[in-house]
């Protein structure tokens, strides 16, 4: 019996507002415990929530960017349960009437495009954090994070493989970054994902028993956990066992999912409309304003890069994974418009490498680039104009990364201009050949690999500045001609 997987993802995105959703405390990460708190977000007696306007604006951006229908009236609901990091004993969320429904995100997996539906988007408040391992018999609670605004984005169970899930998650993150509502950092917890997965006989339309997987702290974890879980469920069903509907945790060390021991009987959250918050009404004017202020979204930008700069899909994909990266690329091209593909190569290989090495992409916006885009453009120009070799350019790039200097400046200061003068190079070649007659003879006898030796010698003599293509031509000509 062939089975297929049915996967849905529930994503929580921490919003980049200055203050919390229902009070004026700071949302900045990294403060000392309980230093970004007030009576409201710590659930003191008598406190009341007041909604942060920017949270709604961010939700509207996400709604429009994912083609959802905006509910002009949405309602706040209380989700009631007890936990030490949930100060009021309930979370203010949305239940029956969320702000957005019925959207989609387009993904590409192995060159196949697919549309993943979004069931709903709503706003809610985050809980605080508990530390369980400081003591054997006690936990410590920090409420700095309590009240930080979250967007909950629920997908339809449209994904059929872990790769599709990964692609969806990445696409969604990119969208959220582009509209500047979330920095999408799974490792730091600003983007969280729970997965729901079941399997069913291929061709069936009924849904199998759904298992929820939590504790997924990276994109890789999501894909790995799904692979594991699908296999586990498959094995269970083929041996005649039943799959229980439950929540399982991903154990990254053991690379397996394990059952969460049931805490209480199945949660009864007793949702009801929050009496302290009146219905949220969003006017058509506001929606139009937000729509008008949306930046060019990733898919549109990819298309445009391909069209305008004649880039292959792969390049466009990589360059648009981050909005600021795409901005950087286009700024570099503006500095030197003649060879956009070359600039793309440089960005993808060298600039991205440095960014990843130095972890410059942890936040929403890369504030420190390896070098300014104009400098990158200049570097490509210098290669294109034959002033420096490709190899030299790589060295200059490293220098640019550490020194902030423009490539022209570096070339001038270090006298790195490529030697492309045929006469000058010919002289060098003659000198080298004259100095190694035995090797010349060997080469002519058939050891063609020795070409590299001669290239190396000339490069040494010219401090690496010999134009490689010209040098190759000259060497070959001279090595053969003087036969």
């Amino acid at each position: 019996m062939e089975y297929e997987a049915v996967i849905g993802l529930e994503v929580h995105a921490q919003l980049l507002t200055e203050s919390k959703i229902f009070c004026g405390c700071s949302t900045k990460f990294g403060a000392a415990p309980n230093h970004h708190t007030c009576p409201v977000c710590t659930g003191m007696p008598g406190v009341l929530p007041v909604l942060n306007q920017r949270v709604v604006e961010f939700a509207l951006r996400a709604t429009l960017a994912t083609h959802c229908r905006v509910a002009q009236t949405s309602r706040w609901a209380r989700k009631n349960y007890f936990y030490p990091d949930l100060p009021k004993g309930y979370q203010i969320s949305m239940y029956e009437l969320p702000i957005a429904q019925h959207g989609y995100v387009d993904i590409t997996v192995n060159k196949h495009s697919k549309r993943v539906g979004l069931t709903r988007i709503h706003m809610e408040e985050d809980a605080g954090k508990s530390i369980h391992d400081a003591h054997s018999d006690a936990s410590l609670v920090d409420l700095n994070r309590a009240g930080v605004p979250l967007l909950e984005i629920v997908s339809e169970p449209d994904m059929r493989s872990p790769e599709e899930a990964g692609a969806y998650l990445r696409s969604l993150r990119t969208i959220l970054q582009y509209i500047e509502v979330c920095d999408g950092n799974m490792e730091e917890g600003s983007l969280r994902c729970d997965a729901n997965v079941s399997i069913r006989p291929r061709g069936s339309t009924a849904l199998g028993t759904k298992v929820e997987i939590k504790n997924l702290n990276s994109f890789r974890a999501v894909e790995k956990a799904l692979h594991y879980e699908i296999k586990r469920q498959h094995e269970a069903l083929t041996t005649g066992e039943r799959v229980s509907q439950e929540t399982r945790l991903w154990d990254a060390d053991r690379e397996a999912t394990r059952s969460m021991r049931s805490k209480e009987s199945a949660h009864d959250y007793r949702y009801f409309p929050d009496p302290d918050l009146l219905p949220l009404v969003v006017s058509n004017d506001w929606i139009s304003m937000v729509r008008a202020s949306l930046p060019e979204l990733p898919s549109a930008r990819r298309e445009r890069l391909m069209q305008t700069y004649k880039l292959p899909a792969f390049d466009a994909e990589v360059l648009t994974t981050r909005k600021d990266l795409a901005d950087y690329y286009e700024a570099a091209v503006r500095a030197y418009p003649t060879d956009p593909k070359a600039i793309s190569n440089w960005v993808m290989e060298s600039v991205l490498r440095v960014i990843k090495e130095k972890k410059l992409d942890a936040g929403l916006v890369i504030t420190e680039w390896p070098c300014p885009p104009a400098h990158l453009g200049a570097l490509v120009r210098l290669v294109h104009e034959g002033k420096i070799s490709g190899k030299m350019a790589k060295a200059i790039f490293e220098e640019m990364c550490t020194s902030d200097k423009a490539p022209d400046t570096i070339v001038a200061e270090q006298d790195l201009t490529q030697v492309s003068d045929e006469g000058v190079l010919a002289t060098q070649v003659d000198q080298i050949l004259a100095a190694h007659p035995d090797k010349v003879a060997e080469y002519r006898a058939g050891r063609e690999k020795l070409l590299a030796f001669f290239v190396g010698q000339v490069m040494k003599a010219t401090q690496g500045k010999a134009n490689p293509q010209l040098l190759n031509q000259l060497l070959k000509r001279k090595l053969i001609v003087n036969q």
């Binding site: 003191m44 008598g46 009341l48 007041v50 009631n80 007890f82 100060p87 004993g89 007793r270 009496p275």
Partner: protein, 486 residues
């Protein structure tokens, strides 16, 4: 003259003329409390030391500033569900017996800004849940007119303190009648404003869509003065409306001529204490004599109000009281095996029986499978109840009713069966469900000398009309000059 017997308006005049000082006035009230609190148990906490400091500050303001709020230098008591920064606020419960809030309720702040003197925190049913003050964890308050009787609840301490001249006025809260019932039982004036008229920020929440904070005072003029200070928009309370606050004093003496007074037949039914019924009827006649025009009206869904209320209020309360879990403040059970046990024991030990009953009921009506049948149904009936009033108000300006079916009952009389206790809210409860303003003022005494109250119900945000009608009646009658023999 015993300074503690003064009303706010009388005291203000003397203070402005510098014939008395805030210090003297405060001292007089503190001495009065000391002499009489053992009988009435009105106060849970008195502020002897800070009151003197506040009085000194008030005297300085009185000496230099103009214009000043009429509340400057006036000793006011706050129901212990109203938070006061740095001053213990217990909500009448063991759960918060040692809780010192790090912030002031908005109404507290407004009073302080006006120069009022917070003289102490008065007794109430635990978490404002009750109609007799017998659910307090702190020696329940007694009626100053007869110590063997209850002062009413849940703002029992507020009403007792005002009736016994242990404060010039007080603030209480009203969720189902908790200002109006004790005001009626103690022979003072109590006003529950329109929902949204006064900020709830910093007041321990019982039922969020029903709670309101309001004045308990010796007469209608004082009531107006106090309401003036606390009414208004608050950026910290999303349900406090942004509507201008009228000058309540300006229209106070406008009288009741041509005022249409609705008399709902459903509020004059069997089971009322006969003296209560006749006193209220006489009051209505008196108002007619003053120029009000009685109009027969019907509020057909009245009999469903109690059931509706107890579903909605307990549901909201069960959620509002979830924060009392021993984690961040308040009582924590000393010995427990793990977190869940800590929760269970803390709440079992910190809450009294009535609070637990209501939390249980509220949790039940919200739980899976019961939400539609109870909570949702109740909210729909609530709409019908509100519509009753709004329809009635098309043909009248105020509605006149009794406040309670009886006068103050004896301590212990109704505690055996909670449902019996709930039924004493029958005339007040629908007003909260509809979010309307309601005022209780004295309209007579029964044969045992216990006060009887008249309720006036108004259109949304028409507290000025209520006060004006109440004032006209009050000034034509002697009840407001009566004092308990204390």
């Amino acid at each position: 003259m015993d300074l503690y017997r003064l009303t706010i308006h009388e005291a203000t005049t003397l203070l402005r003329k510098r014939e008395i000082s805030a210090r003297e006035l405060t001292q007089a009230v503190l001495s009065r409390i000391e002499a009489t609190n053992a009988h009435t148990h009105s106060y849970i906490t008195t502020c002897d030391h800070s009151a003197s400091l506040q009085a000194a500050a008030a005297d300085r303001r009185l000496a230099t500033q103009d214009p000043l709020s009429p509340l400057c230098g006036i000793p006011i008591a706050l129901k212990d569900v109203i938070l006061t920064r740095g001053l213990r606020s217990t909500a009448g419960s063991k759960m918060l017996a040692e809780f010192t809030p790090p912030y002031d309720a908005t109404v507290t702040r407004l009073l302080k800004e006006a120069g009022a003197i917070i003289i102490g925190k008065v007794n109430c049913d635990e978490f404002a849940m009750g109609s007799s003050n017998e659910n307090s964890a702190f020696s329940p308050s007694r009626n100053p007119w007869d110590f063997s009787r209850v002062p009413g609840g849940s703002s029992g301490g507020s009403a007792a303190a005002v009736a016994a001249d242990q404060a010039l006025a007080a603030l209480g809260t009203d969720t189902g009648g908790s200002i109006r019932l004790p005001a009626s039982f103690c022979g003072v004036v109590g006003l529950k404003p329109t929902y949204g008229r006064v900020s709830r920020f910093g007041v321990v929440a019982f039922a969020s869509s029903l709670d309101q904070i309001g004045p308990v005072a010796k007469d209608t003029q004082d009531c107006a003065l106090l309401l003036q200070v606390i009414a208004g928009h608050d950026p910290y309370d999303s349900t406090a409306v942004n509507l201008p606050v009228p000058d309540y004093h300006a229209t106070l003496k406008s009288g009741v001529r041509k005022l249409k007074m609705g008399i709902p037949k459903e509020y004059f039914v069997e089971g009322m204490q006969p003296e209560v019924e006749s006193a209220v009827n006489r009051a209505i006649t008196q108002l007619e004599a003053l120029g009000a025009q009685p109009v027969d009206i019907s509020l057909p869904h009245t009999e469903y109000a109690i059931a509706t209320y107890y579903i909605i209020a307990t549901a909201e309360a069960s959620s509002n009281l979830a924060r009392y879990d021993g984690v961040r403040y308040g009582y924590r059970a000393p010995q427990s095996d793990g977190l869940r046990a800590m929760y269970d024991l803390t709440r079992a030990q910190g809450f009294g029986p009535e609070v637990k009953r209501r939390i249980m009921l509220g949790t039940y009506v919200l739980s899976a499978g019961y939400y539609d049948a109870y909570y949702l149904k109740a909210q729909k009936v609530r709409t019908l109840i509100r519509q009753d009033f709004l329809t009635a108000f098309e043909s009248c300006d105020v509605i006149a009713t009794p406040v309670a079916p009886t006068t103050a009952f004896r301590v212990g009389e109704k505690t055996a069966d909670p449902l019996t206790m709930y039924l004493s809210d029958i005339f007040t409860i629908a007003v909260n469900l509809a979010g309307l303003p309601g005022l209780s003022l004295p309209c007579g005494f029964d044969a045992s000398g216990m006060p009887i109250g008249l309720q006036l119900i108004g259109k949304p945000f028409a507290e000025d009309i209520l006060l004006q009608a109440a004032h006209a009646y009050e000034q034509a009658t002697p009840w407001h000059t009566n004092k308990p023999p204390l």
